[in-house]
């Protein structure tokens, strides 16, 4: 899974220097994170303020060029941006398998990743994008530009759960099949969640470490 996202820029009449301070998360809107059946799709999304340094600003703006692009670059100090950030879902056709042909330096098959956003991902990200554009306009932006539509953050493939038939690890990140194997990162996420994953990954790792220490201390982990 990943986070299906859109970058949405708003350019204001006055300089706003949105690049000052931290780049991301000055403002975070979670009002649309709770699933809402009337949206017509599953799960939810968040909006994160995200104003980057100039080169990243250019790269996340899309693919336009020429005079229009140069005007956009020179509007840097007048521009703010939302990162419209949807909750990606697992999909049965997204897989990590062993490549039948390509081998690494040790002669082992390399991982082959097949991944596409599912319909829900695309629909939800579009809703997030449109809400970001609406809010940017309501904030007084003279011009709103839809920037790059891109994925961020690798998650999933070792789903956490109680049932070994439908999950890979338990709630402590411990493999159902191999008791002394722990997975302590975003691999255990069951959806992409709608937010940046680092803190959750750290919490999962901390919880797993405590469990390992306790279990090993009792002599129950070989």
């Amino acid at each position: 899974m990943s986070h299906p996202t859109w970058q949405v820029f708003g350019t204001f009449a006055e300089p706003i220097h949105a690049f000052k301070g931290m780049q991301m998360g000055h403002v975070m809107v979670q009002d649309y994170y709770k699933p809402e059946p009337r949206r017509g799709c599953a799960r939810g999304y968040i909006l994160l303020s995200y104003m980057m340094t100039p080169i990243t600003y250019a790269n996340l703006s899309g693919s336009f060029y020429g005079t229009e692009f140069k005007e956009f670059l020179h509007a840097y100090a007048h521009t703010a941006a939302w990162w419209a950030h949807a909750e990606g879902l697992p999909c049965a056709t997204n897989t990590v398998t062993l490549d039948p042909d390509v081998r690494d330096g040790y002669g082992l098959p390399v991982a082959r990743i097949s991944y596409e956003w599912c319909d829900n991902d695309i629909t939800l990200a579009a809703l997030a994008r449109d809400k970001a554009a609406e809010m940017m306009s309501a904030s007084g932006a003279q011009r709103v530009r839809l920037g790059l539509n891109y994925g961020a953050h690798a998650m999933g493939t070792c789903r956490m759960g109680k049932d070994p038939a439908t999950s890979v690890v338990n709630s402590f990140g411990q493999s159902h099949d191999i008791p002394n194997l722990f997975v302590c990162d975003t691999s255990t996420f069951v959806t992409g969640a709608g937010v940046n994953p680092t803190l959750t990954a750290m919490a999962i790792a901390s919880r797993a470490a405590e469990f390992m220490a306790d279990t090993a201390g009792r002599g129950d982990l070989s």
Binding site: P54, G66, K70, A77
Partner: protein, 143 residues
Amino acid sequence: MSAPPPKLPLNAEDRATLAALARGIIPPDDIDAGADAVEAGPRLAAKIEAGINAGLYLEGLAAATAMAREQFGQEPGQLSPAQVHQWVGGLRERAPGFYKQLRMDVSALYLSEPKVWERIGFPGPSSSTGGYPDFDQNPDSES
């Protein structure tokens, strides 16, 4: 699009093509000379000759040259600004990987120039000065 990729080192025509492409991404105007203000063409040529993304660029240059001849019956270096704009747009559709790298590289060269930072209102890295002053601490500061 059947022309063979150019070989290294790049010749004068290839260099002119690179400069024209860079100018198409960030053109000259009343503000500054755009990509030419940071010598994007020659600097891209130096990167290619150093082997950085050389294969992608050589194939892209071949495609770009073929497209200029096909669309306008001219060499890339002879195209007018309006033709360059149309040509770069065609390249974006027909060679998207090359176009993406070209846009990134030209942008990075342009936006790494401190004089450009001044023009766009970016004060540059702040780590050596302890960060940017808050607005209320330095109300006279424009950037």
